[in-house]
Amino acid sequence: MMNTPLLYPYSLLCELTYRCPLQCPYCSNPVNFERYTEELDTQEWQRILDEAAALGVVQVHFSGGEPLLRKDIVQIIRKARDLNLYSNLSTGGTLLTEKLVHELRSAGLDSLQISIQDADSLNSEYISGGLGSFDKKKNAVLLAKNAGFPLTINVVLHKQNLDNIEAIIGLSEDLGVERLELANTQFNGWALKNRNLLLPTRCQIENAIRKVKSARERLKDKMEILYVVSDYFEQYPKPCLYGWGSVFMTVTSDGTVLPCQAAREIRGLKFENARFKSLEKIWFESESFCIFRGTDWMPEPCRSCPQKLIDFGGCRCQAFLLTGNAAVTDPICSLSPYHNIIEQAIEETEKESPIKWIYRNEDESKRSAFTPLSDNK
């Protein structure tokens, strides 16, 4: 099956919980998250970190949902530190307190990322669906800074906030953070459900890129600005995770082990659980990790394409969500026979439509159980 040498994962994403006080309409959690309520306990997470370190993982990223909802978050982070793993925590920030931030620091957390939705409270809270969240987030940034954390502000970019990108950069500058990650929405999960409200126009993208470029120049000694492009406007797909089962794995709140955090939405693919099987066995032997590893699985136009070792055929999850088949070239690719799906979406987003989010919450998640797949497109 495999045509690449044995690879060990470098990086592990731990989605500690799917619970979250916010309701961002582009959340990367699976749309049906509410059915996975049995969270791993502290000992199980600690064992998973042990297994991950033995398997070659050196970076561990804690996210959710909202990871600070876990009462044992400090214990879990201390375990990562004991294993000399580089640890990073992504939070919405609303639950951070002065006491907690110091506990996280002394437990050995290496880096902290706090999400911001927009530059002002009205827009931010309309996007996050969390009343009062904007001030709490700003406060969290200050708490983290005062505790001496290397801090990144994360902003997901989309149609409704892309025109405010200068103000967003300005806010981050005022808050004095050293790293700002501006990432265009990736259209899996909830984001795909809300795509007509989130996909920017080409004109918005071009303006944003120009503004980021000049801000980078202006702030080069103060702040690192990362900009993750919107793949919908690219000629070739993104090199998703540097290839399936190549450097990265995710363990979800209920112990399911995924090659990509969005993979759970690929129907028909069976995923193993870290409760019952070791990460090593899952990484090397499971069907879910082996199926798209390397290049043997590739169809045309990937198979004979010189790009195949650059973009690895793009995103398997996106291929599935847009075409119903995870084993085809990512439709982002201009050579994909399904590329018209992308062109159509870009055309449609030029039309104005009233903002009526499908917020990411339990009710909507339950409702999604009854949505036929074709409606996900």
Partner: protein, 91 residues
């Protein structure tokens, strides 16, 4: 490219950490959402980026050790790390 002068004193940023990886038998430089696999020279350079050594000292020390011209390589590495904000330069 950031110019690195002889009298700069580089120090590793707090967000970056060097780790010996027992699985791959390599030294790694770890930082938020990324890592670099270090070869032996790069590892020795970074070990000397402790806020005590001038660039010229690092260059000379490794040049003496390896009896080759390592100056350009070292400055390129330092410059790359400064641009990623993983190294700070003290006056």
């Amino acid at each position: 490219m950031t110019l690195i002068s002889d009298i700069d004193i580089p120090i590793l940023a707090t967000k970056a950490r060097v780790k010996w990886d027992p699985v791959r038998q390599k030294n790694l430089l770890l930082f938020p959402e990324g890592l670099l696999v270090l070869n032996q020279t790069a590892h020795e350079v970074i070990t000397m980026c402790d806020g005590k050594h001038k660039v010229i000292t690092i260059v000379n020390s490794l040049g003496d050790k390896y009896k080759t011209h390592v100056d350009a390589d070292i400055r390129e590495l330092l410059s790359k790390l400064v641009e990623k904000r993983l190294l700070l330069l003290l006056e």
